[in-house]
Symmetry: C2
């Protein structure tokens, strides 16, 4: 079944509208929770008077930061958040108090009745100001001024590299922040009874939410159950514990009744955790043949008010620069600063998007400087399977060259690049990404993914996995892997996932880890179950295990129709004590931790590669850019389910397209969101999206399940520079600032380029 397109197991319920998202859940006696948010970008909270709100009939509880005093945060190094502000608010929209009430109308009225005394503090909204401004401290833990973290990594002999270069380019690039724009807003429902706290939440990381709830609520983990219902898009925006999860839980504990909180769209933008705004300087040296000799990269990340995933974002910004090209020497300097804005965090393609844009555009400029073909310079520098980069990224499999050729071929590169009519052009860019992080978010040596498969007498199997299907299709992937190993139809595999009360731990959906890690755990579990079935069947049939094969749900003598028994019969035969038959599997990354000398975040067990080619049309009068199509080649190791992989590539490419031309998450001079709804925040709908051609390249990773690597994130990276490089081919202008704005293009054209 592997390699043949399978419909998603949750497809019909989503199409028919019967899928149960968090906000669809209604519990008896359920209250509505709402958050009061700060109107100020930076202020001291002097006093919160909740008495009038508490007195309002229908209000069941009002809480403030004092009720949830324990700080938390996604990374051990950045435990700097509170569910509700304690003493200080650091951005407009930060939650200050919360109510639980009989209905939404009463809850809203109660918020109006809460009186907060603020003492205004100076707000820092410009990241370069944050670098130097010592008189205002957004976070006490800043290492200097408002710098959360500075990183300097040096690999190889950078000076020597630049000395060897015959050509060196140094360019400056910027990219504004962007948001995830998941169609489903954040939502959580908490219920607290004698049997503990149950939280249904739209999260990518049930396990980390579980841990954070235990810590902040001071409740043992075994008293807490976190369940992820059907989820309507995450992209990183639901990748860490969120205030509503803690607040709904605290209110449920307080009231003894379930409490639901669903964010409205403005609240989602206040929550942010989206793409950081970047300012970058990139310097690259090459030989006369275009071979890279050294790279020097520095960047400033505008982190917003809290840490979130930001330290990882910063490290990834440097580390991932050594793929997909052979970079013999790299110097990376970066800083992430605090500003009085909603915090930035992880977003699809996390850490690699802006630097890749810079790198790939500069590489085209270098090719142009040297008179080389952009495809050629990429192929000359490509890494290959078996390479280990200067910063010790181990390339276990690599189809990058094939991706470049496939993407180029798809747009007729050789006959069309530089030869299309004025205003029309093609461009190409590459990329690479992690297939899961080798280190967990908190330090422990337990497996990152665990899967249990049970078979009972009904003839099917149940896969229990903590992995979170966030729309990317991981439940379908698990069903497929189990069905393949056990030779069952997909319909005979039931997947029960992301319920900490019954499914084994999985670290969650981030860093493109699920197919690689949960897929491997699932395969192992299915193989263990198969071995037990074979043992039972062999005994019953009077054959040796080696004489048996499993085919289309039947265990039979190899190459013979008889003797045979059905899957269900084999389960009964193997059940022994009659308990359900189980197979278990766990995945730990190979021991790469510690090999990486430069910092706290180790590399990935495998890397995906990709190259996109874009064809664009530029209206030279208005500067508007239309992307006609994207040919998106991606080395995903192995396409377990091609239609699903193609969907991931398409979605990522379209998201990259949106970040190239449209998306801006930023605040005005008072720290207020410029766009707080889907009227103002521009992102592509299906009508706006270019045609995307997914080109799947299979390099068969030796560690991946059936050879598979990631597909959903890395395939975003090349889309942006491919479009920008195509704009150059069409209009002769180089765009260094994202998103591309028509007036910039027009101005550059009138200046005669760049």
């Amino acid at each position: 079944m592997i390699g043949k397109s399978q419909p998603r197991i949750d497809g019909v319920s989503k199409v028919r509208g019967t899928a149960m998202y968090t906000d669809d859940i209604r519990l008896p006696g359920m209250l509505v929770g709402k958050l009061l948010r700060s109107p100020h970008a930076h202020a001291r909270v002097l006093h919160v008077d909740t008495s009038a709100a508490e007195a309002l009939p229908g209000v069941k509880a009002v809480i403030t930061g004092r009720d949830l005093p324990i700080a938390y945060g996604m990374l051990p190094v950045s435990q700097d958040e509170h569910a509700l502000a304690v003493d200080v608010v650091r951005h407009v929209g930060e939650p200050v108090a919360a109510v639980a009430a009989m209905d939404e109308r009463i809850a809203s009225r109660a918020l109006d009745l809460i009186n907060v005394d603020y003492e205004l503090l100076p707000a820092i909204l410009d990241p370069s100001e944050a670098l130097v401004r010592n008189d205002v401290k957004i976070q006490d833990r800043a290492v200097e001024a408002n710098v959360e973290r500075r990183v300097r990594l040096v690999f190889g002999d950078v000076e020597d590299g630049f000395r060897r270069a015959v050509h060196v380019r140094k360019d400056r690039f910027t990219k504004k922040g962007a948001g995830h724009a998941s169609l489903e807003p954040h939502a959580a429902i908490a219920s607290f009874t004698q049997d503990g706290l149950t939280l249904w939440t739209a999260t990518q990381v049930p396990h980390y939410v579980h841990r954070t709830l235990a810590r902040v609520l001071q409740m043992p983990m075994e008293r807490i159950r976190v369940i992820k219902p059907t989820l309507g898009g995450g992209f990183g925006g639901k990748g860490e514990p969120m205030p509503l999860e803690l607040v709904a839980s605290a209110l449920a504990v307080r009231c003894g009744r379930p409490v639901k909180i669903t964010y409205d769209r403005e609240e989602v933008f206040f929550t942010n955790r989206g793409r950081h705004a970047y300012t970058m300087e990139l310097e690259t040296g090459v030989t006369a043949e275009g071979l890279i000799t050294a790279v020097r990269f520095s960047c400033l990340l505008d982190g917003g008010a809290y840490g979130s995933f930001g330290v990882v974002t910063l490290y990834y910004s440097g580390q991932l620069l050594t793929l997909p090209y052979h970079v013999p020497a790299l110097e990376f300097q970066g800083a992430r600063v605090f500003t009085n804005k909603p915090a930035c965090g992880a977003q699809r393609g996390h850490g690699g998007v802006a630097p890749r844009f810079a790198f790939e555009v500069q590489l085209d400029r270098i090719a142009s400087d040297l008179g080389l073909d952009p495809v050629e310079i990429r192929l000359r520098n490509q890494v290959r399977s078996g390479d280990v980069t200067i910063n010790e990224l181990k390339v276990t499999s690599c189809g990058f060259g094939e991706c470049v050729e496939a993407a180029a071929e798809a747009v007729g590169w050789s006959r069309r690049r530089g030869r299309l009519p004025r205003g029309r052009g093609v461009g190409l860019a590459g990329g690479a990404y992690v297939s899961g992080a080798a280190l967990p978010i908190y330090f422990n040596d337990m497996p990152h993914s665990n899967v249990v498969i049970t078979a009972d007498r009904d003839g099917g199997v149940t896969v229990l996995s903590g992995a979170a299907d966030i729309g990317q299709g991981s439940d379908t992937m698990l069903a497929l892997v189990a069905a393949e190993v056990l030779s069952l139809p997909m319909e005979a595999v039931r997947v029960v996932a992301a319920d900490t009360g019954i499914t084994p731990v999985d670290l969650g959906s981030y860093s493109s880890r699920v197919t690689f890690m949960a897929g491997n755990a699932c395969r192992q579990a299915a193989e263990e179950l198969r071995d037990k079935l074979f043992a039972g069947a062999a005994e019953k049939l009077g054959l040796a295990v080696e004489d048996l094969e499993l085919r289309a749900g039947v265990i039979q003598k190899i190459s013979a129709a008889e003797p045979a028994m059905s899957f269900g019969e084999a389960v009964a035969a193997a059940e022994g004590a009659g308990v359900p038959l189980t197979g278990v599997g766990g995945y730990r990354p190979p021991d790469l931790a510690g090999r990486y000398k430069g910092g706290g975040v180790g590399p990935s067990p495998a890397y995906s590669f990709g190259a996109h080619a874009a064809e664009v049309e530029v209206d030279e009068l208005t500067g508007e850019v239309r992307v006609i199509r994207l040919a998106a080649a991606h080395d995903l190791g192995r396409a377990l389910n091609p239609v699903a992989a193609e969907g991931q590539v398409e979605g990522a490419a379209v998201m990259g397209f949106g970040e190239t031309l449209l998306e801006i998450h930023e605040v005005d001079g008072h720290g207020r969101l410029k766009a707080s709804d889907f009227l103002e925040y521009k992102f592509p709908t299906s009508l706006d999206a270019p045609e995307v051609e997914s080109l799947l390249v299979e390099s068969n990773d030796p560690q991946g399940p059936f050879g598979a690597k990631e597909v959903g994130e890395g395939s975003l990276h090349p889309a942006i520079p491919a479009i920008i490089n195509a704009v150059y081919d069409a209009a002769g202008v180089w765009i260094h600032d994202l998103p591309l704005q028509p007036h910039t293009v027009r101005a550059a054209i009138s200046r005669g380029g760049s």
Copy 2:
């Protein structure tokens, strides 16, 4: 923890109203289903015209019996039901057609628009008429006239027994039918998508519902998931697959949207499956000392229109007569007949209630005839641990004598029986019941109960069990057994039960089997988990397994504080491959099947015993009887959770009290329900109930988990005859017909007794 009272793990959610019953569940896009029911007691369905209903806006589907043509039934011998009538309706209220619509109002209007042509057939409402009437066949499968089954069982030398008797009494008794009157009506929600059919249903038997759905819907079992939400009382009334479960499922498949059906109270009474009406003749011979020499018992059961559990009811009516007294010879003849009424089935104390009433009242009359004390005659005849009855019931443990003495003592028997003022009296009666059935409902040799316990890194454990908590507290029992074995607090044990998609098979809640069977499976699973923990801990601590003990969640060196590790640490140490640690357990009854020669239903692995003493006041003017109190002694083997066991005894005693004085499920001359709501159907509320004193007697059954046997059903039996016997003590009249009616008492008093 065993033997100390523990609060129910679902107690708070039930008290606070946050527990999720089936009808509380709302799914996106959910439709409302409703059933059209026959107004006739017996008729041929000539034609069902659904066109007008289908045309009504908001109606999504209309189905009839032709859409669900496959027959089903609880017992393999009685597959005689259809979810919707096919060709013939056999009682008033039988479902004929069903609709799914946008809301309840539209669904009701649609029912009005369905036009059914009936050809009326003669209805048989009197069971004695059913015995002889050959011209009307309610069911083709009747063995003669309208007799579903005749049973004749003879054990020992009955003729010789009566010859040896110095005194023989022969009496006639009757009991009307009664209903379960669960506060929660039947409710079911079906959802059908690509990943199969999911049915949430208020059932006692998820596994049998699962099997029946597969058969009737012609769908593989692995495509079906049955989940029992919180349930508001079963008592046998939810102990078999019901039309609404099949109809909701069929409608959901048809519509592609979830469909909910909740019965109203009249529909619950139409569904019935309650206590059979009995006509009984009992003849008992005794020696001069009151020792029983032989028993001859015959009974006629009014079964209603379908088989349901009736064949079991009939066999139990005879088989259970040989406990709790030594009966050297028994002749049993019984018949169950079909009538044009809602079918009778299993109700708390199933099969034993009416015969026990007859036996215990007659025993008092015999004692009276011989001048023996009713307590004394019972003690002289009592069975004891180790006895095997003449019909091969093996008494593995018995505290019957102790129960009799405790109940008598509680009402001051020796100084008050026969000595209270006129109009006041005390009475006593005994009983016995099965602790689970040794045979499953369908023939297979798999365990009857399976339990899986998993421990993950959160420090707690999860118990996965198919057992159905129907309000009796089985979830709490499972938590307690696991907590005891694993030395954990109750709060650290999460119970996930009755979900065929994730929990291992358990046959369900009937025949008082759950504590005995699921309790044993749970204990075995917990012990296996504990062994794994000890092995892991021993290795980590550098000790031998034999040197370790588990105490209050800590594994430590025996009698030493050090070295030690917490439960969670031991789980991590034992996890090995890192998958969750699991323990599994299964319970199969000892191989008693086949030993029983008389019929298809074998005995139980253990028997509970009990004796109740009642104190009553009789108003001689009105004939009204007031039960002042019931002292209810019950040998439950071991009280795992005394407060829960006391609750069961109280509930059963009050239910017996209701059947003694109030409850009547019967139809009028047209086959229409006489009582179809809780205004007309009289049953005791908490305000009507007498004071009940639960007296727990522990005989420590060698096979039961920690010695436990059943408690919830057997403790109903003695309540009825104890009250009737007390009425004799108070007013000098013997009541042979249930329920006791004041005018009968008054008439008997004016006749001067009997």
